[in-house]
Symmetry: C2
Subunit: 420 residues, 2 copies
């Protein structure tokens, strides 16, 4: 019997290591050619499936696929595109299966966060209902670290490492300038709903190199007087401090601090980050000299300082997804199971998708110190192994030698297009 | 004859590699104990000399001093503190020499940019006038790359590498999201007066990995319609683009774009960067989805991705400063002389301080493309060797193992203090 083909797609915000998962999927599938035929990738994620715009990964050399392990971004294109609920738009799901059928796709590997886990589950259910044989496996990925069951999410460890390293470096900079210049440094990091990434800023300070760092979590309602008092006290004691602020910090009114309606001189709305808002408070409330940074995409694309643990786990999730499919699994997601902390050991587990979809894992309350501005020892123990190890990309002329794939299109088989 | 002591101070904004120059000074001095006694460092730069707050670097182990080579920030503290002209405040200069005399300081190594070169020269001249035997050597350092005579400035290469690497990474991120999400990514970099750092963003795109990147230089008056037309054209062609904007970009009125007077909802002034200003223009002018980042201190502290060339040159400048002193030089600065481009070869030269002080080296006009948004091949040839090579710090538990010195104070000898 001719082996059936696989479809792989990247979903949502990309990371420094999502391509390592892609490499895990493709390299593992290539080792099982008797069971998996071609691996097609969706150009721009699930949109590629809907539009029948498939990429033939078989046209890429082994070397190019291996290079995905050290290349950030989404090599096939990703998409912020959530399928509507089945009842509201069955045509989308039917089209997906129509495309899968046309290209004899028997394996669906969907690489993303909570939304894509939900889509993956629904596609699997619909295929079952319609009697189309399909194994749908979700490959976890999200810098937000908010998927349930899995101990941590591929992509998070590398952002965490970037934030910890950068906060340590910038804080040393501020420490040396504080007497005559900047006393408060504010860095804004990602995390609209949960403070996992902000928490990583706390790792910059260790017993060997203590640094005064305050963290503003989305989990803790922002209290301006309390915050300013704490900055004042810290600067009086140490001469300076750094503030790691999550983009998702909200005021007591529940509104994002970053949405406070900045206007330019002409009254036009300004779309600002939260770092300049905090900076203005420090200036007007304490009259301390400040500097601020917004890491934005720099943090989630920073493959140059990726965590070795994260790269290994991302690859392992891709590989495990294929292995689960080969074992006959459907509607599941491989997970990372923490076996021990010291030494850090982990193994691959499995979670059923109906337990993953639409569940958001928040930061445990006991990961945040009582004052709301720091991380607890328990949080440190959780984060420490995730930022372990360096996995440097190769360099060429001083720059990381990232790969760009050929991304050759698979000839279309369907007469009709599909309006996405 | 008892060897005379040396005084070393860091000045102005610190860099990822200024401590490598400190290591060069201290390690070289330690090899010549018959000629140089103790090496004292100024706590918080020149303020340490004025306040007679000296650090005895002899109390630091060889290992700690060697670790300076991979530690960012200013290990002894730096200062934004410019001495007033001699005629206006002779007391400051007299105090400096009084402290030098009290601690038998015969060598003055001042590690900074243009202002400190000027101070170094004036101290040297005054010592000569007063018959106090002193050799004053300036050690070049500035991320702004604006010192004359020297081919490039220690500190610049590492920021340039950080900006090139980060721009490449973030642009790959945007490329993968552009169809359904961000189409324009804006990153703000340092360079109040010259576009050297912004130019480095152009290095992110190479023949092997072409990326659509527009650069906004302080040297090119900002023309909003022309800029927006160019963004529009680039996004239409590639689907996305990155914009690297120098903090020093000015409008046709000569005012900084970042100083356009942002106000919050209550009318309070907001101290913003230029990236959100550009972002707002892209939004209101083209209605394209954007993201923006402000690298701020993250860029100049990023020792984790320092340029190997830069680390080597920074160390060499410190070592050369001591060697120049031992050869009897005074009022000079070691320089980097480019010998050849391919292969890149450089050697140490010397410049008299009166040719260095108060001269700012701007970017040559032929380094910027005719349209004003890119770098020329000539610029690439200049920048390429400066970002060459990686020089990773050692890591401990996932974080760079940066050193914090003991910074033991030297007992004061003078009865009087000095109000800085």
């Amino acid at each position: 019997m001719k082996p059936r083909n696989a479809f792989y797609a990247q979903s949502g915000g990309v990371t420094a290591v999502i391509n390592a998962s892609a490499a895990g999927v493709i390299e593992t599938a290539r080792k099982h050619k008797s069971k998996i035929g071609k691996v097609f990738a969706g150009r721009n994620g699930i949109i590629g499936a809907l539009a029948e715009d498939l990429i033939d990964t078989g046209k890429e050399s082994a070397r190019a696929i291996a290079a995905l392990k050290h290349t950030p971004g989404g090599a096939f294109g990703s998409a912020r595109y959530k399928l509507k609920p089945f009842e509201k738009d069955p045509a989308q799901y039917e089209r997906l299966l129509e495309v899968f059928r046309a290209h004899d796709i028997g394996y669906f590997f969907y690489n993303g966060g909570g939304d894509s886990a939900d889509t993956c589950l629904k596609v699997s259910q619909l295929a079952g209902k319609l009697g189309y044989p399909l194994q749908a496996i979700h490959v976890p990925k999200t810098v937000d670290n908010d998927l349930p069951i899995t101990d941590n999410c591929p992509g998070f460890g590398s952002v965490a490492k970037y934030v910890a390293v950068s906060t340590r470096e910038a804080t040393l900079d501020v420490a040396s300038m504080a007497l005559t210049s900047t006393k408060v440094f504010i860095v804004e990091v990602m995390g609209r709903h949960a403070g996992w990434i902000a928490a990583a800023g706390g790792m910059a300070s260790t017993k060997e190199l203590e640094l005064p760092i305050l963290i503003l979590f989305p989990e803790v309602p922002f209290d301006q007087p309390k915050f300013l008092a704490r900055v004042d006290e810290t600067v009086k004691k140490h001469g300076y401090c750094s503030v790691v602020v999550s983009e998702g910090v909200k005021g007591p009114d529940g509104k994002f601090l970053s949405d406070q309606g900045l206007r330019d001189a002409f009254g036009h709305a300004q779309l600002g980050g939260v770092a300049p808002v905090i900076a203005s408070m420090v200036k007007s409330g304490l009259d301390l000299k400040y500097h601020w940074a917004v890491a934005d995409y720099l943090q989630r694309a920073a493959r140059h300082i990726a965590s070795k643990t994260d790269v290994a786990q991302s690859y392992a999730m891709g590989r495990a997804a294929v292995e689960l499919a080969l074992k006959g699994h459907n509607a599941v997601m491989p997970t990372i199971v923490r076996v021990s902390n010291r030494p850090y050991k982990w193994k691959v587990g499995t979670a059923p998708l109906d337990k993953v979809a639409n569940v958001e894992k928040m930061m445990p309350a006991d990961f945040i110190t009582a004052d709301g501005f720091g991380i607890t020892e328990k949080c440190r123990q959780y984060l420490a192994p995730l930022i372990q190890g360096e996995d440097y990309p190769p360099y060429r002329n001083g720059l990381p030698d990232y790969v760009r794939l050929k991304n050759t299109a698979v000839p279309k088989k369907l007469a009709a297009g599909f309006k996405v």
